[in-house]
């Protein structure tokens, strides 16, 4: 295995984060603060506790999930798309790197960035609401798995996109709406029966639910279902990436 090759890609991508620290770190923090001001203090003060959890604290897992999903997909898609766009991908493709090693470099860096930002959001939330994490290891499991899985999805988007507009289509038109409708700011038990059933078709419901369970032992679906869903989603992404490298889709003419 070309460990140095993987490390080079990883360090290169992480250096981009450092170069764009404001964009990478400060803007998610500001967004989180705004969410807490609007949903936590302004509106949240008029909303009663949900399953015994203060509303401001209730939205913390969903808010983290929202940030991590967009950061994972955004970082990974940009990470692989930009060298394709600028032409520097030739260097990656001509290096003695296997497909797996290339994925490890790009996805590893994107997932790391998303995890850092997720933890920063959690720390920021701590300034606004009292936080308790009942199952910290399960919380970390969901955090890591979500960041990796959505970085894999971002990697797929970055290969599929043939323009900067397309890079934004799936995160904006699919992931963000699914996250908002996936119980980030409410419990799906609060919805009418019909919409509860429709919500179960939304994969993000399982992620938010499992993640929230790790905080407050409250979930919309069972924790095992959530774990299974995140694993299935990861395997699907890995399978698609396998096909991309096998066929050379949009990478090797």
């Amino acid at each position: 295995m070309n460990i140095r090759g993987i490390a080079s890609i990883y360090k290169f991508e992480m250096a981009r984060m450092r170069r764009t620290l404001g964009q990478s770190l400060i803007s998610p923090v500001i967004s989180t603060v705004l969410y807490f001001i609007v949903f936590g203090s302004a509106i949240g003060s008029r909303i009663s506790d949900i399953d015994g959890v203060n509303y401001g604290a209730f939205i913390v897992p969903g808010l983290m999930m929202l940030t991590m999903l967009s950061q994972s997909t955004g970082n990974a898609s940009f990470g692989i798309y930009f060298p394709r766009f600028s032409g520097t991908i030739y260097e990656i493709l001509s290096a003695p790197l296997s497909s797996l090693e290339i994925v490890l470099g790009y996805v590893g860096a994107a997932a790391t960035k998303a995890m850092i930002i997720g933890i920063v959001v959690l720390a920021t939330a701590g300034f606004f609401v009292p936080l308790e994490i009942q199952h910290p290891f399960i919380m970390m499991f969901f955090l890591v798995m979500t960041c990796i899985t959505f970085s894999l999805l971002g990697f797929i988007i970055g290969i599929w996109a043939d323009g900067f507009e397309k890079l934004q289509i799936i995160p904006l038109l699919v992931i963000t709406p699914l996250t908002f409708l996936g119980g980030s700011f409410y419990s799906i038990n609060m919805l009418p029966d019909f919409w509860q059933k429709v919500s179960l078709l939304n994969p993000v419901v399982y992620l938010v639910s499992g993640f929230r369970w790790s905080f407050y032992e409250h979930s919309d679906v069972s924790i095992m279902t959530s774990v299974t869903m995140i694993m299935v989603f990861m395997l699907v992404c890995l399978a698609i990436i396998g096909v991309i490298f096998k066929t050379g889709y949009r990478l090797k003419n």
């Binding site: 290169f12 003695p96 790197l97």
Partner: protein
């Protein structure tokens, strides 16, 4: 340079290589080619002939439709890690990581190829390429010529044994072009095999040991440069006449002659490699016809003339 070369093997060996793109365009048509270890091989061809596709396929950037490629004896499909470790590529386009510094960019390239950091080597490399003073500059702040040198530094950062230079001097000034020729000379002295594509045929004439000509995806010729110029080169004998001729005398019709400059000049074209080149017969004919010359000179066809003739023929 690290030596993984197996003895008595060509640096590059391409056999029956084909590449047809998804749109049906056949970019490589049964290409077979060998590049000897340590030589400078110039690959010439008109635009769209398949030069870049061939290089990209050897480097692993483009998938071949079929055929085989070996670099230093390593199959670039089955043993791709070893094959690719031997190769450095300087692409035609100025594709650089605009926001990276020169130093980080060369370190990144070295790392990609799995090489241990070696600051001393990279420092010397940047010094050789007159980039050391710019090591902390972002690449986007460099001139076009310097960016080109950064690409060369990146390609050499992992100490490759085979270097591909795809149009290395396209769009660079004469001074830089000459400094690149000097660099290529140095690399050859260090035993690096160099495959060069260029539009400047004088560049190939100046540097190459062997020439390959590719047209419409087919390699139509590979030959030692000196032999090629001897074999296919033509020479012209230009005779300036004392008084102009209206037309060539009938007795001289057998020779490949033409009148120029309103009949003030006779030009005789002949194959330089032939023992019996017809110059003696021409001089006899001139004497017999009473044509007197005031001056003469000879000129040889360049590699460019040979290239144009060959590509036209095919």
């Amino acid at each position: 340079m690290s030596k993984q070369t197996q003895p008595a093997q060509a640096a590059i060996s391409v056999s029956n290589l084909n590449k047809t793109y998804e749109n049906g365009f056949k970019a490589l048509d049964d290409v077979s080619l060998e590049v000897k270890s340590g030589e400078i091989f110039a690959l010439l061809g008109p635009n769209g002939a398949g030069k870049t596709t061939l290089i990209s396929t050897i480097c692993g950037i483009v998938r071949p439709s079929n055929g085989s490629i070996k670099v230093n004896g390593f199959d670039n499909a089955k043993d791709y890690r070893k094959a690719r470790q031997c190769v450095g590529l300087v692409p035609q386009e100025l594709t650089t990581d605009a926001f990276e510094t020169v130093w980080r960019a060369v370190n990144f390239s070295r790392g990609l190829f799995g090489k241990k950091p070696n600051d001393a080597y990279l420092e010397q490399l940047l010094k050789d390429l007159s980039l050391w003073d710019k090591r902390d500059s972002q690449i986007r702040r460099l001139s076009g010529g310097m960016k080109r040198r950064v690409l060369i530094a990146k390609a050499l950062s992992h100490e490759p044994e085979v270097l591909f230079l795809d149009e290395p001097t396209a769009g660079v000034d004469v001074e830089l072009r000459k400094s690149m020729w000097a660099l290529v000379g140095k690399l050859r002295e260090r035993g690096v095999t160099i495959v060069l594509t260029t539009h400047y045929i004088e560049e190939a004439e100046e540097m190459a040991d062997r020439i390959g000509i590719i047209s419409h995806g087919k390699v139509i010729l590979t030959e030692d440069k000196t032999k090629l110029m001897k074999k296919l080169g033509k020479k012209e004998l230009v005779l300036e006449l004392q008084s102009p001729l209206k037309k060539l005398p009938k007795g001289m019709g057998k020779l490949d002659l033409r009148l120029e400059d309103d009949g003030n000049r006779i030009v005789y074209t002949y194959e330089s490699a032939k023992e019996e080149n017809g110059v003696a017969s021409l001089l006899d004919s001139l004497r017999d016809e009473g044509i007197r010359c005031k001056d003469f000179n000879t000129r040889e066809s360049s590699l460019e003339d040979i290239f144009v003739t060959l590509v036209k023929e095919k």
